[in-house]
Structure formats: structure tokens, C-alpha cells
Amino acid sequence: MYDFDYQRPTSKEAAIEAHKASDDGMFLAGGQTMIPVLKQRLAMPSLVVDLGAIGDLAGIERSGDTIQIGAMTTHAAVAASDVVKDAIPALAVLAGVIGDPHVRNRGTIGGSVVNNDPAADYPAGLLGLGATVVTDRRQIAADDFFLGMFETALEEGELVTRIDFPVPEKAGYLKFENPASGYAIVGVMASTGPAGTRVAVTGAGPGVFRVEAMEQVLSQSFTADALDGITVPADGLNNDIHAAADYRAHLIGVIARRAVEAATGA
């Protein structure tokens, strides 16, 4: 770890101000990626603004047909939330398979979304459910939020405060894990509802993406069998010691099918 200044403000406004005043500040949410990154000296912020003392950034509420999750809500809280389990059980499943109990008790939805790790679970959750990212200055649709690997549409100093999920009719999430890291080799969120029919894939490519060919057939019939014969090309998919690109392409088909089965209770 390199030396940095550290602040722990108690309001959103103070956090944003502190960040703005710094040369090269970083917000710290649950720290489950950022602390290891700092420890390995892969980042060199001048200031770390710890969001942990800002009370109103965490919490889960239902507002009509939308589930609102505060950015500082931990994965464990989402996984255990009756509100989430009742409205979007697939989202509770997703939160419950992130990392291990330590990670789930510290890591937050906001931190995960902002980091946009290409193998993280939440990006598939947001894109696959058609969620909206709420920041201190605007609302960004998930379709516009996730850019390339570790890149998002956020501007400098922009603070994510909340994620809004429309309640789907059906949704299923399944992760095929890298057994060493627990990250997704392929994770699929499949849903149908007010945000349309969506199939979002994490882990397989350089960033989360939707599979149009699958969405088309599923919008006709949201059943696992509808996916028969649909394949995803291996071009552009990740290729590493855990899974070659052709294997990942194959797995997208298998895991999408199982995600739809989970969504439909088949």
C-alpha cells in the first residue's frame, strides 16, 4: 500500500466535496476489491473517502414495482432481505453467491457496480433486470452504465447512491464459478417483465453483455426449451487457464438454459 490521506465523512455532500477537493481521490465502499488493489500497490490515490459512516446510503425498500437498494447495502443484506426475496428472488440468489461470507458481509452493491469487474455478479444482475443506477446527479440505465472492462459511464467524482430494480415477472440467475476465485466464468441473469426480456452474461467476455438471439426467442416463449439450437460465437470471449473461449461459449448456452429453468421453476 502506498501512503494516502483518509477521510470518513458522515454525509453524501461532505463525501462529494472531499473527493472534489482532492487531486486523485477514490471513494471506498466495502473495500472488497479496492483494499486488495491498494495492498498490491495497483492504485495510488491521494485520498480515500470512506463512505462507511454515511447512514442513508444503505437500505432496501419497495416503492411500487421498484426495489430500491442503497449503494452501501451489503451483499449479505440483499441476500437475506425479505423484500428482495419476495419481489426478485433471483437477485437474492445472486447476492448470496458473491465471494464468501466475509466478502458478502463487507462488500456492497454500489462498490461492485462501480468497479464493473468483467466477472462480477452484479453487472449481470443490473443489466439482466434492466436496473437503473442513481447517482448524486442523474439516473443511468444499466444498458448505458457498463462500458468496457472496469469502465462505467460515471463521471469524475460522481457518487452512486442507489440502484433501482423493476420487479420482473420471472427472473433466474445462475453462476458457473471459477473454482479458484469464485468469480463467474459464466454468469447469466435471464428475466422477463416490464424491462423487457433480457439475458445478460458476465464472466465470459471483457464486460457484461446481452445475448440478443436468446432474448428474441425468450420473448416469444420464456422457456428453457426455446433456447434449443441457439449458440453464441466464441469470438471475443475470454480465454484463460480456467476456460478457453469455445468452452465459455458453450457454457453460456448451458447456463442460460439453467437460469431460465430457475426462473420458470422447471
Partner: protein, 779 residues
């Protein structure tokens, strides 16, 4: 009933401090005024060092010194070399690389040391290391074992003609070739025994302190034997008297063979602490562990078995290439050859054997001892061959093993390598394992799996290995006037429960209350000056044998004193349950102990005191032979290639069991490591760059608890006939038996698809790909 004697599941005394965070590991030790060390490693797999620029680094506040190979050369710090030599058939020794502690001229693997930075804080040392510029001319590298001897492979050691370290062979090749030529069946397998990284929980660390008044250097570090470390540093490398080298290791967080070595960092810490006259502290991180702890296994093998029409073995053939890494470390080429070959043929009657190992250098981390060290490799060869032999002969895998076991009436059985195996009831063990695993019910379980769209397989790994290790071990049993005893032994515990088990032996033999026996582990060579530490599952036989010898001396002395007290002849005195008796009288051990320290109550000529020492020595071919039958049952998801071990059963012969709970713990740990090798642990070097791309837990899958099955471990003890306690080792049984059991189970599951081979680790991608290839070749 005796609750603390041999065979009792006495709870581990050491667990209290381990489980409450009260252990004393190297990083828990600090000395006032200590400076901190950072070791800079090569990021290049193979290169010539043109220059190392430390000017900017020297400017970092707090930097005390930066040493490079120029400094160690100027001080004539000797290089590290392997202990042992292996000869080829012409009698020539293996090529012996000289490994400088700090490299001035050339680096040969990613992780090779290039500089040592010493600063007031660990952070300052690391900051400075980032400002050291190593100007390197890159050389092409070779990392693949099978390609090390290719004509175009870059050669690591310029004064060696090729990357061949030694070509070891053990028999007349022609005679065995003739048997193969006339054999009705020849089974052949070609496979990789994958490279492994042991990953003790505790990374390497060191604390070194020089005392100028006494001219003694003290080194604290995690190791497997203080005397071995002290003698390596003092005698083999620095050429100083042993009494000048003080090595201390209190608690050590895992050994596995990789902590038995004197690493260049240890030597540098000792050298620099004296040079700077400053206590020095170093704590490595996980990356240091991954790239610089010695690795294990890494062989490619072609093996054959010649069989007659009844499926009985006529001869065996093993032609392997074993990767040494960039240097031969302490044991180096001895492991695949002289050590691994002893138990080749394992539990089977193999009348003839040709065995050839080419040890080769590559631009990789040195390969050396790893839990089993050569014997798991031999077991794997044998069990893969048995499975293939069953396939080509059409015999059942159980039946073909039955036909080839060393029969009961053949013991002591001398194998083709002249190793006399004293005992073993292999068929009984097989039958017990089959029953415990419900082998007969497998068909039903397979149907159940098939109904769920899964493939199911069952496989056997039958192991036999040679335990014993270094041939001498020392113990001391001191009995005080109050009747309490202190047991010292020269083996070393890095987690194996010595504090609990060794006093059980003394309690059993002397009858002294268990709570009145103190145990002094060989954690400090100034306290326990003799002892070979831990290797090759040796502690039970060698440490136990030494304690037994010292206890027998104590009983003899006790008898002489008792005879005097009872006014009887020493020859008439009987000893049982802690009581000496003769005629009608008797005295307790406590009474004898009190008298032993009172000059007025001793026979003429006997000195007061009660302190017995014994050096137990085994002959060079007297090992013990732990053996066992492990059965793995797996389910394979044909859509994804995921393998899950659904059931795992073992029945082992570990001789007389000193503490069954501890033996089961050793078996569980060994099985976990064995299943890790079989299913998960993938050590990958990138061709071209020579980078170790699996150098973190994000990529290197040490098995997690949830990835492992419940292990049903049973026991069938056949006492060893050639050591006083009748013990056999248990530390490496699991790493021997689990890999072939798991691989044979997966092959069994994939048999309907026509699959006859798969390599370890059986990762998801590999299993899926194997299934795809089988489907493609069937259609």
C-alpha cells in the same frame, strides 16, 4: 482403561494455542531495533543481468542498505548446492548447479533473487525496491518439461551440454524389452504428473540476529527441523562451527516438504544480520510463496505393463522426464529417482522393472520435496497402469489387482529394487475398502445419477510407499526427583501433534502419569542439539523409535535402582504399569526417581541423576510401508465437465496406531492435497514469457472445504515387524492414493464415451473438452 496410552485418541494439547491465536510463529517474533528486509525478485524468466541501478532506491528515506550479487560475491558468500548426487549408468554424477543467493550475472526463473533491500520499515524497503532498475538482456526460456531436451530448447547452464541434469536408469533395459516383446498383453499409459505448489498457510519469514560478543547468529524461521537448518547453514554453506549457528522455530504453519529447505533468503538473512550488526526481519507474502517455495511433482511419463494371459504382471516399464526447475535444490534429482523408485511396483508382485528418469532443467521454480516426494508419483504410475491393464485384458479392476498383490506367504518380500517389504495384507484391505465403499451398490447409484443426467464413476487408488526418511534420530528422557518426566526428540512438529502423541508413548512405556510428562520439541538447536527433523513420514518410526530406546534405558536404570532399594538382583526385578517389583516388595517409578537423585540411596558406583539418551538408527533399507486402498466415487456433469467427488472411502494400514484421531487427521489432510492435485491445482507457466500465471489464489485452486467430500477413513493395522513400536507412516498416504482413485473414477465415469485417458488436474474445461473429443471421434 488407560486413556492416554498408545492407541488412544488423546485430544491435541497444541490446539488450545492454535485455535485461540496464541501460537508463536516467526512473524510473531520481534527484536528491538530490528530493520526490515524486502527481497527483489526477477520478473524475467531467463536473462543476463547487464547492470542493477540502485541509486534512486538508495535515496528513499529509511534505507539502510541495498545488496546485490556484487556484495555477496565480494564477501565470498558461497552458493547453494543440492545435498545429494544421482549417478547415471556410467557412474557419472548429475550436473550440480551452483545457485548464488543473489544473482549477479544471470537469472533463470521468475522469482530468482536479484537484490536485498534493508530499511527501517518494511514499507520503506518495498518503496526502495520499486526504484531498483535491473537492466536485463532477455534470453529465450523453456518451461515445458517435455520440451526441455528439444534440440532448440535454450540451455540454462552454459557449462552443461543440454538441459539434462542426469539420466538415471535402474535396470538392464534389454532383458525387460525381451519380456515385453513376448508378452500377451501390454498396457501403456502416457501422462503428466502435474506441478504443484504446497502453499503452507504461513508464508516464509525470517528473523536474524547476530551477537558479536559470542559470535553467534540466531535465525528464527518456519522450517521442518532446526538442526538440519543449522547444519546446512553452518556446515554445508558457511563453514562455521555448529555452535555459532542458533536456529529457533517455535510454531510453524505447515511443512509439506517445502519448509524443510534452506532457501537463499535464509542464508542472506544470516549473512546480512552479521554484516550490518542489526537484527533483521523479513515476512514474505503469498506471491513469494507461489514463485519461490519449491514446487512439487512435474513429470511426464510413458509407462507400460506386460501381462500374461491371466492378467498377471510380467514386467513394468517407466520412462519419465522429471522437471528440476532452474536449479537442483536440496534433494533435487534424488526425489524422482532414488526415492521414488524404491516403492515402484507398490503392493504388487512385479518380477522385472525397467525404470528411466531424465531429470531436466527449465526456467521454472526449483522442484523438490512435496508431501510424498517421489512415492505418490510411483503410486500414480502403477494405478494408472492397473486400470489400463484391466481395460485391455477385460478383467475387472478389482480382480486384476487381486491377482497381482504380493501374496501373504511372500513376506518379507524383496521387490526388484531390493527393498524388503516386511508386511501387508493387501487383499484384506481391498475387501474392507470395497465393503466400506459399498462397491456392490455402485450400479444403483449410477442409475440414480443417470436419471439426473449425470455420469457416475468409481475408481481405486491402491498405495504403498516407503516411510522413514533420515536414518538416525535422537531422544532424551529426563526423570526428575518428583517423578515427572521430560521427553526430548529431534523430529520437528509443524502441526503433526508431536506434543500430544510422543508423551503418549512415554506414558505407555514408563507408566508415568500423562499429565506429568513434559514434551520438548526440537525447536531450538541449542536445547535439542541432535535430530533430523521431519520428512518422509518419519516421526512415528524414527522419533517414536528413539523415545522407545530412551525409555528402555530409563527402565533398565530404574530396575538397577529398584533392585538396590528392594535388596534384590536387578535381573529379578520386573517392571509393569509404573511399578518395579521383586520378591514380595515393590517400588513405584516415583520412588525410584526420587532415589535416583539421592546419592545415598544408589548402588555403589551409580551416579545420581536420571537422564537417558538414545540414538535410534534404522538400516538403509529398513523402511516401513504404509499402504491402503482408497475408493473415489465421482459424478460428472457432461454438459459442463464439472466433477464432484460424491463419496470417498479409504482403508489404510498405518501399522500400530499411536493416536487414531491424529492418524485420521493426517489422512484427511493428505487426501485433500491429493484431490487438489487430481482436480484443481494447476501450475501454469506461460510459454514464451515464462511467467507463472497461476501465482495467486485467484488462479491457483487449493481445495476449499466445500469442494471436498466427506472422507470415510477406516483402518486395518498390520504392525510393522522391523521397528520397535510397530508403526508405519501416515502423513503421505493420502497424497499417494487420492490422485489415482479420483482419476480412475473419472475414467470409469467417461468409459461409456470411449474415454481411456485424462490428465490431472481434471479441471472443468479439460473434462468438458475430453468429452467433446470423445463424442467427435465416436460420431
Amino acid at each position: 482403561m488407560n486413556n492416554f496410552g498408545i492407541g488412544q485418541a488423546v485430544r491435541r494439547a497444541e490446539d488450545v494455542r492454535f485455535l485461540t491465536g496464541a501460537g508463536t510463529f516467526t512473524d510473531d517474533m520481534n527484536i528491538d531495533g530490528q530493520a526490515h528486509v524486502y527481497f527483489l525478485r526477477s520478473a524475467t524468466a531467463h536473462g543476463i543481468i547487464n547492470s542493477i541501478d540502485t541509486a534512486d532506491a538508495q535515496q528513499v528515506p529509511g534505507v539502510i542498505a541495498i545488496f546485490t550479487g556484487e556484495d555477496t560475491e565480494a564477501d565470498k558468500l558461497p552458493p547453494l548446492q543440492s545435498f545429494t548426487r544421482v549417478k547415471n549408468l556410467s557412474g557419472e554424477d548429475n550436473y550440480v548447479p551452483r545457485r548464488p543467493a543473489l544473482n549477479r550475472v544471470r537469472v533463470r526463473f521468475v522469482g530468482d533473487l536479484v537484490a536485498m533491500v534493508i530499511a527501517e520499515t518494511a514499507i520503506a524497503a518495498r518503496d526502495a525496491a520499486e526504484l531498483i532498475y535491473v537492466h536485463m538482456e532477455d534470453l529465450p526460456s523453456v518451461v515445458n518439461t517435455a520440451r526441455a531436451l528439444d534440440d532448440d530448447a535454450p540451455v540454462l547452464w552454459e557449462d552443461n551440454a543440454s538441459n539434462l541434469c542426469v539420466h538415471w536408469e535402474n535396470r538392464d533395459k534389454t532383458a525387460v524389452e525381451e519380456i515385453f516383446a513376448g508378452a500377451p498383453y501390454v498396457a501403456e499409459v502416457t501422462f503428466v504428473n502435474n506441478r504443484l505448489i504446497a502453499n503452507p498457510m504461513e508464508p516464509r519469514a525470517a528473523l536474524a540476529d547476530y551477537d558479536p560478543e559470542m559470535d553467534v547468529t540466531t535465525l528464527h524461521c518456519p522450517i521442518q527441523g532446526v538442526v538440519r537448518m543449522a547444519s546446512t547453514l553452518a556446515t554445508r554453506i558457511l563453514d562455521i562451527p555448529m555452535e555459532k549457528m542458533h536456529v529457533v522455530a517455535k510454531d510453524v504453519g505447515g511443512g509439506f516438504g517445502v519448509r524443510s529447505k534452506c532457501y537463499p533468503e535464509n542464508l542472506l538473512m544470516v549473512w546480512a544480520a552479521k554484516k550490518l550488526q542489526r537484527p533483521l526481519k523479513w515476512l514474505g507474502d503469498r506471491n513469494d510463496t507461489m514463485v519461490s517455495d519449491n514446487h512439487g511433482r512435474d513429470q511426464v511419463t510413458v509407462a507400460r505393463l506386460a501381462l500374461d494371459t491371466d492378467g498377471k504382471i510380467l514386467a513394468m516399464w517407466d520412462d519419465s522426464i522429471a522437471n528440476m526447475g532452474a536449479y537442483t535444490f536440496e534433494m533435487g534429482p534424488t526425489i524422482p529417482t532414488l526415492i521414488g523408485q524404491r516403492s515402484m511396483g507398490t503392493a504388487y508382485a512385479v518380477p522385472a522393472l525397467y525404470h528411466s528418469i531424465r531429470c531436466v532443467f527449465t526456467n521454472t521454480t526449483p522442484v523438490d520435496s512435496y508431501r510424498g516426494a517421489g512415492r505418490p508419483e510411483s503410486v500414480y504410475v502403477m494405478e494408472r497402469l492397473m486400470e489400463e491393464a484391466a481395460r485391455i485384458t477385460g478383467l475387472d479392476p478389482v480382480e486384476i489387482r487381486r491377482r497381482n498383490f504380493i501374496p501373504l506367504d511372500a513376506f518379507p518380500y524383496t521387490n526388484t529394487q531390493n527393498i524388503p517389504i516386511d508386511s501387508g495384507e493387501f487383499e484384506t484391505i481391498l475387501d474392507k475398502a470395497l465393503e466400506k465403499a459399498d462397491w456392490a451398490g455402485f450400479g444403483d447409484r449410477r442409475r440414480d445419477s443417470e436419471n439426473r443426467g449425470k455420469l457416475r464413476g468409481i475408481g481405486i487408488g491402491f498405495s504403498l510407499e516407503t516411510s522413514g526418511g533420515f536414518e538416525k534420530e535422537h531422544s532424551r528422557v529426563r526423570i526428575d526427583a518428583d517423578g515427572t518426566a521430560t521427553v526430548y526428540v529431534g523430529t520437528f512438529s509443524h502441526g503433526q501433534s508431536h506434543e500430544t502423541v510422543f508423551p503418549q508413548i512415554a506414558h505407555e512405556l514408563l507408566g508415568i502419569d500423562y499429565k506429568n510428562i513434559r514434551f520438548i520439541d526440537a525447536a531450538d538447536n541449542f536445547v535439542v542439539p541432535a535430530g533430523a527433523g521431519t520428512s518422509a513420514s518419519r516421526s512415528s518410526m524414527m522419533g517414536g523409535g528413539a523415545i522407545h530406546g530412551a525409555c528402555m534405558l530409563a527402565i533398565d536404570k530404574g530396575k538397577a535402582i529398584a533392585a538396590h532399594l528392594l535388596q534384590a538382583d536387578a535381573a529379578e526385578v520386573a517392571f509393569a504399569d509404573g511399578v518395579f517389583s521383586a520378591g514380595g516388595g515393590s517400588v513405584t517409578f516415583a520412588e525410584v526417581a526420587e532415589a535416583a537423585h539421592d546419592a545415598d540411596r544408589l548402588p555403589d558406583g551409580m551416579q545420581p541423576g536420571f537422564d537417558e539418551k538414545h540414538m535410534y538408527e534404522r538400516s538403509s533399507d529398513n523402511f516401513n510401508y504404509p499402504n491402503g486402498c482408497h475408493i473415489a466415487e465421482v459424478e460428472v456433469d457432461p454438459e459442463t465437465g464439472v466433477v464432484t467427488v460424491e463419496r470417498y472411502t479409504g482403508v489404510d494400514d498405518n501399522g500400530v496406531i499411536l493416536n487414531p484421531m491424529v492418524v485420521h487427521g493426517q489422512l484427511h489432510g493428505g487426501i485433500a492435497m491429493g484431490l487438489g492435485q487430481a482436480l484443481f491445482e494447476q501450475t501454469d507457466y506461460e510459454e514464451g514469457s515464462g511467467q507463472l500465471i497461476s501465482a495467486s489464489f485467484m488462479n491457483y485452486n487449493v481445495p476449499r472445504a466445500w469442494q471436498l467430500p466427506t472422507m470415510e477413513v477406516g483402518s486395518h493395522s498390520v504392525p510393522c515387524k522391523t521397528n520397535p513400536l510397530g508403526v508405519k507412516g501416515c502423513g503421505e498416504s493420502g497424497t499417494c492414493a487420492a490422485p489415482p482413485a479420483a482419476v480412475n473414477a473419472v475414467l470409469n465415469a467417461l468409459k461409456p464415451l470411449g474415454v481411456t485417458h485424462i490428465d490431472m488436474p481434471m479441471t472443468q474445461d479439460r473434462v468438458w473438452r475430453t468429452i467433446q473429443e470423445a463424442k467427435a471421434s465416436q460420431s
